[in-house]
């Protein structure tokens, strides 16, 4: 484990997860389908989780990995709520493209 990290170097992990994170961000920005937006957000969160793990090994310290569990749980809860809202929107609107949500403005 250690030596792997030594071989690869923590920076690369950071770059990787940053890239993943940005992919997520762009997904959120460019996709209009609510579900896909959710997934992009998930990608962001998971990128961070990955980084957490990497750091925790880097620091030889378990807290990071524990934190990952927290964040996964939280993310799950979030998505649950989000999907619930989405369902009710679908009931009312019949579509899940977020572009239809423009009644509140000005």
């Amino acid at each position: 484990m250690n030596n792997i990290l030594n071989h690869i170097g923590i920076e690369n992990y950071i770059f990787l997860s940053v890239i993943l994170f940005c992919i997520g961000v762009f997904g959120v920005l460019y996709r209009r389908n609510a579900i896909i937006v959710f997934m992009s957000i998930e990608i962001m969160l998971n990128a961070v989780n990955l980084l957490f793990v990497a750091f925790s090994t880097y620091h030889q310290d378990a807290q990071g990995q524990v934190f990952v569990f927290f964040s996964m749980a939280v993310a799950a809860a979030e998505v649950a709520v989000g999907l619930a809202i989405l369902v009710s929107i679908f009931r009312n609107l019949g579509s899940i493209t977020i572009d239809n949500l423009k009644n509140l403005k000005g």
Partner: protein, 456 residues
């Protein structure tokens, strides 16, 4: 700590009441319970101790702010009694969610560990998502919920990333350790980046420009009571948390960062006020005014070491007037599909007391003397000038002039227009909340030192 446990216990209790279907009793019991919790918090006021290896650190700061949050929640719950009388079946859920939200809030101001901080935020946010969308059949509410959820979770992602970088730099989540380490020599660049990311996340929560766009839409769409909660409790919590975060993690924030704060604060005030001018929906208007108030509160970040007291004062002044204002709005806009300013026409005739209260609340927000809002602004200006940001104060002054413009639009509507139709009698509870809130506000205005000295 005990506060937190007590609150969560109370929340669970609410859910239980549902099972034993004692819905009627929920609100009173909750209020009594919260009062108890308040007492508890105040009792351990001066004790500074930490629990569960620094997960929770109870300090003067945390306990004062927690008490403020509890007070606000009491008001909100009380208003709930009247607000939810049409859907009794879900009242326990609503109340319970509020209580849990309060738990999250308390966690946020008393965290000793970034994990706790993150959990707190999420508990708060998720409850807010639910409340925002709680009016299931109403498309506006759905949209509000959706918007808030998407952007909120996006912001949480940013915060999480920031935390992660901090952890990467410091190898610990414990704020005390982090701040100790942060004093040491060269830090990896990740650390400041992490701080900035977390800050930005929090700026989103307090709806500061340019991260404020969600606020007006969500405020407008959500049920009025939720809006009240967001604009008072949620905003104050987020602000307090941001303050604590920055002051705990690294006491002296860099000059360039202060510039950022100044710019954002100016932008928030100006954009908030100017956008509010042309709003016809009262909730939306208050949302923008909230943005500008966020800008004001951000001024406290410029003198972190000294301004805890004034932040507390400003927060209480602002949230109390907010509660008062919203209780009137709840009354006026009950069973109406919108909160358009038209509904307030002639309130001065049909219901002088409530009109007077709303007026007082607005005057307080505008910063007219003897109301707490005035002193809040005053101490803020004082500190900011001390910190050497005269220009910012000038902008703030100009903004408070602009703000009078839209606050008075509402007052004028109440006193100069003819009432459009008769309103039936009001529930005592709304009167009670409104009066107590505004009286507290005025008392704060008359004896500012009472609060100002708490955290001096």
């Amino acid at each position: 700590m005990n506060t937190l446990i007590a609150i969560i216990g109370l929340g669970v209790l609410c859910l239980l009441f549902e099972i034993f279907n004692l819905r009627k009793a929920i609100v009173p019991i909750t209020i009594i319970g919260l009062l108890g919790v308040l007492g508890l918090t105040i009792s351990e006021f001066n004790s500074t101790e930490s629990y569960y290896n620094n997960m929770i650190v109870v300090s003067k700061f945390s306990s004062t702010f927690s008490s403020l949050f509890i007070v606000l929640t009491i008001f909100l719950v009380a208003l709930g009694h009247n607000f939810y009388e049409n859907h009794q079946s879900k009242i326990s859920d609503y109340i319970a969610i509020k209580i849990f939200l309060l738990a999250g809030a308390v966690a946020m101001v008393s965290f000793g560990n970034l994990a706790m901080f993150f959990l707190g935020i999420e508990v708060l946010s998720i409850s807010l998502y639910i409340l925002a969308a709680s009016d299931r059949m109403n498309l506006k509410s759905n949209e509000a919920g959706m918007k808030y959820f998407l952007m909120g979770s996006f912001a949480s992602g940013i915060i999480l990333f920031g935390i992660c970088l901090i952890y990467g730099a410091m190898g610990s989540f414990d704020v005390t350790e982090i701040s100790e380490l942060s004093q040491s020599a060269e830090l990896p660049i990740w650390f400041p980046i992490g701080i900035v990311l977390v800050t930005i996340g929090m700026l989103f929560k307090i709806a500061a420009v340019p991260f404020h766009f969600w606020a007006p839409d969500v405020y407008e769409g959500s049920p009025a009571l939720t809006t009240a909660l967001m604009s008072t409790l949620a905003k104050v919590v987020a602000m307090a948390t941001l303050y604590k975060l920055l002051s705990v993690m690294n006491a002296d924030i860099s000059e360039s960062f202060k510039i950022i704060v100044v710019v954002i604060s100016m932008a928030s005030m100006t954009v908030g006020n100017i956008m509010a001018l042309r709003q016809t929906n009262v909730k939306r208007m208050l949302a923008f005014s909230g943005v500008s108030h966020a800008g004001f509160m951000l001024m406290t970040l410029l003198s972190l070491s000294t301004s805890a007291g004034s932040l507390l004062y400003y927060a209480s002044a602002y949230s109390l007037s907010g509660i008062a204002a919203f209780s009137v709005i709840l009354y006026v806009c009950k069973n109406r599909d919108n909160e358009d300013i038209v509904n307030f026409h002639g309130l001065g005739k049909t219901n002088p007391l409530l009109a007077a209260i709303l007026t007082a609340a607005l005057l307080s927000m505008a910063g007219i003397p003897i109301f707490a809002g005035f002193f809040a602004k005053l101490v803020l200006f004082n500190q900011t000038i001390l910190a050497g940001y005269l220009a910012l104060v000038i902008v703030a002054v100009v903004n408070s002039i602009i703000s009078v413009g839209y606050y008075f639009k509402l007052i004028l509507a109440m006193y100069t227009k003819e009432p459009n139709e008769e309103r039936k009698g009001t529930p005592v509870i709304i009167y009670a909340v409104a009066v107590i809130a505004i009286v507290l506000n005025i008392v704060l205005g008359l004896f500012p030192s009472f609060v100002l000295d708490l955290l001096a």
